[in-house]
């Protein structure tokens, strides 16, 4: 058989895939190749890899315990022996806190990315596919949430349920789902009337099956792009809540809360607020770069560069 002499690369790049699986892998691989040629997206990806790495290996990487206080050794400047990024107002090592903080950031991002798009997808596809009253009611609810000032809705929610990281995640998800619902509904509307879906319906597939097996997969790629681009916004929102004292609670080294703590010393000890600020910036930039690149790959009609 000729396939034995094929390299993996050739197998992936073949013009005549022999199985559905091969075709799917081939499409993924081609996407990856095109993403790889986008330098900015790769920079973004690299930063995210660093983030994940530091979250996973935090105990190994951090030079100090992020919670141990030393009041005699507080507010040390950058480059201090043993504390490269200095210490905060309770004498804790800033670098170690930032490394542990990456876990919280990742945690928030992962949770929101699981909740908001899925909720939006569910509401949007059901609304778009069912039409009629279901559509009207669901879209009114979506409108209500869209018309809310974002941060205020999140604030209200956190104020109602109490400050804390899980509630912050819920609050952010609560404000993040409506655009996904809008988007999924629009896509569903186009797909619903296509011949392809009519054919499936004629074959006797029920609405549940059509939505989950045939509509969802078609919505996924634009959803992924959108989620990646929104990640930055989510990180910033979480940091904003932390900054207002409504996100992660002390002594948790959440980056937004660290900025909030450090801003009191901003005139004399600027690095305490600056370092976590830079970290937030780097990570959200990374998501934006990656999202931008992914959009080019997955959604060429939007921005072709």
């Amino acid at each position: 058989m000729s396939s034995q002499s094929l390299t993996l690369r050739q197998w992936l790049l073949t013009d005549t895939p022999t199985s559905r699986r091969q075709a799917r892998f081939a499409a993924l691989y081609k996407g990856w190749l095109s993403l790889r040629s986008n330098h900015m997206a790769m920079i973004g990806l690299a930063i995210l890899v660093v983030l994940v790495g530091s979250a996973v290996f935090a105990p190994l990487l951090a030079p100090h315990d992020p919670f141990v206080q030393n009041l005699a050794n507080r507010l040390q400047p950058l480059g201090t022996e043993g504390h490269i990024l200095g210490t905060d107002s309770l004498g804790r090592d800033i670098l170690s806190r930032m490394i542990y903080g990456s876990r919280i950031t990742l945690y928030i991002v992962a949770l929101v990315a699981m909740i908001a798009p899925v909720a939006g997808l569910l509401v949007g596809t059901v609304s778009g596919y069912a039409g009629g009253w279901t559509d009207i009611v669901l879209m009114r609810i979506t409108d209500i949430f869209l018309a809310f000032p974002r941060l205020v809705l999140a604030l209200a929610f956190v104020a109602a349920l109490g400050a804390g990281i899980e509630n912050a995640v819920l609050a952010i998800s609560l404000t993040a789902w409506p655009p996904y619902a809008r988007m999924a509904r629009a896509e569903t509307l186009t797909i619903r009337s296509s011949d392809y879906i009519s054919a499936i319906r004629l074959q006797g597939a029920g609405p549940m099956r059509i939505i989950t097996k045939h509509i969802w997969p078609l919505c996924i790629s634009s959803l992924i792009v959108r989620v990646t681009l929104d990640m930055a916004g989510i990180i910033l929102a979480a940091a904003g809540l932390g900054f207002l004292g409504l996100g992660a609670q002390p002594p948790s080294p959440e980056w937004g809360a660290m900025i909030s703590e450090g801003r009191r010393f901003i005139l004399d000890h600027w690095w305490i607020a600056t370092m976590p600020g830079l970290a937030i910036f780097a990570v959200s930039l990374a998501f934006n770069l990656l999202g931008d690149g992914l959009r080019d790959v997955l959604d060429p009609k939007d921005s072709a560069s």
Partner: protein, 352 residues
């Protein structure tokens, strides 16, 4: 249509046989949305474990004083009764009294909203003036260094924590360099000096021909407004670029070029003209976002705007103030949405 992802337009859900029916449907959907908005806010406010009564009577109140205030606020009545009273009052133009400022909420909003409006308007102006040309250039010279720079500028804008940038900006431009005025809307010695006509200090001081006050107010607004401007710039320039790219690859552009039309004319008279409506939608949306009150910017710059007002009211369970401000903010959002819907219907040939 390719812009579905970005603009919050809603597809017409009912066929529009007549102009009147369209209006009625729009009005009905506005009222339903507003009512829903009110209800959600009201509900959130009531389940919040913050006591509005404590905000009124203070920490030292005796149980008896506490109870008197509790009854005065009508908190003993069932939730739905409280809610219907409230809606009834709002329909009569009465938003109630704010617990914290001891003034009618309508007056408070009349005071804080112009502050936000002034800031948002200058912010969006900066965003448009810089963002649109930047987006057009990036599209025209796609792939060039200027396109890359525009991309980085925009992505950095998307990625920067605004509260951090605000702090740093204040430190640098006010603290170190002294180029701009400090936090607040005006220097303290101009406090109460300018008669308030519109509530927007720049406009009021111009009306009063007090140019010292005008300069002072401008020096205070320029930094936060630039910050907000940068954010809208990031969004507007990216959107402009993608709209322009779509147009520039269209057939008619090639035809025009082949016919020997100048590049300037191709870009502005043809391509740009066609993206106007989409662009206005994008701008309306960013403007709505700025008007909603950029809570963090207003906090950092001690800007007495609606975002600041809403946040403090929320955290002290000053529910009349929260509800009033939410209604105003929601209305703005809905109105701007309808406005851009209308624009679509009027200008976009495809929707006819």
């Amino acid at each position: 249509m390719s812009s579905t992802h970005y603009n919050p337009k809603r597809q017409p859900r009912l066929p529009l046989p007549s102009w009147l029916k369209g209006t009625l449907v729009t009005l009905a959907s506005i009222s339903v949305t507003m009512l829903g908005l009110l209800f959600v806010t009201f509900f959130i406010g009531r389940v919040m474990p913050i006591e509005p009564v404590l905000a009124v009577v203070g920490e030292r109140a005796t149980q008896e004083q506490y109870h008197a205030a509790y009854l005065e606020l009508g908190l003993d009545k069932p939730l739905i009764v409280q809610f219907s009273y409230y809606v009834w009052d709002v329909l009569h133009g009465d938003f109630g009294m704010s617990l914290l400022t001891a003034r009618p909420v309508a007056d408070d909003i009349g005071r804080v909203f112009p502050a936000t409006m002034e800031l948002a308007t200058i912010g969006i102006t900066i965003g448009i003036v810089l963002g649109v040309p930047l987006g057009v250039i990036a599209a025209v010279r796609r792939g060039s260094w200027i396109d890359q720079i525009a991309r980085v500028v925009a992505l950095v804008g998307y990625s920067m924590p605004i509260f951090w940038l605000g702090l740093m900006g204040l430190l640098l431009f006010y603290g170190v360099l002294g180029w701009v005025g400090g936090p607040g809307r005006q220097g303290i010695f101009y406090e109460d000096m300018i008669p308030s006509v519109t509530g927007m200090i720049l406009v009021d001081s111009a009306l009063a021909r007090d140019w010292g006050a005008f300069r002072d107010a401008f020096s205070h607004i320029i930094l936060p407004a630039s910050l907000l401007g940068y954010y809208s710039l990031a969004y507007i320039s990216r959107m402009t670029r993608s709209f322009m790219l779509e147009q520039l690859s269209a057939e008619y552009v090639t035809t025009a070029r082949v016919k020997g039309m100048s590049e300037w004319a191709v870009i502005w008279r043809h391509a740009f003209r066609n993206i106007r409506v989409q662009l206005i939608t994008v701008i309306a949306l960013s403007y709505a976002n700025l008007l909603e009150g950029s809570v963090l910017t207003e906090i950092i710059f001690s800007w007495p705007g609606i975002g600041n007002y809403l946040t403090t009211a929320l955290l002290s369970a000053d529910m009349n103030a929260v509800l009033g401000a939410t209604v105003v903010v929601g209305l703005i959002f809905i109105c701007l949405n309808i406005f851009s819907d209308l624009l679509y219907k009027i200008f976009d040939p495809r929707s006819k």
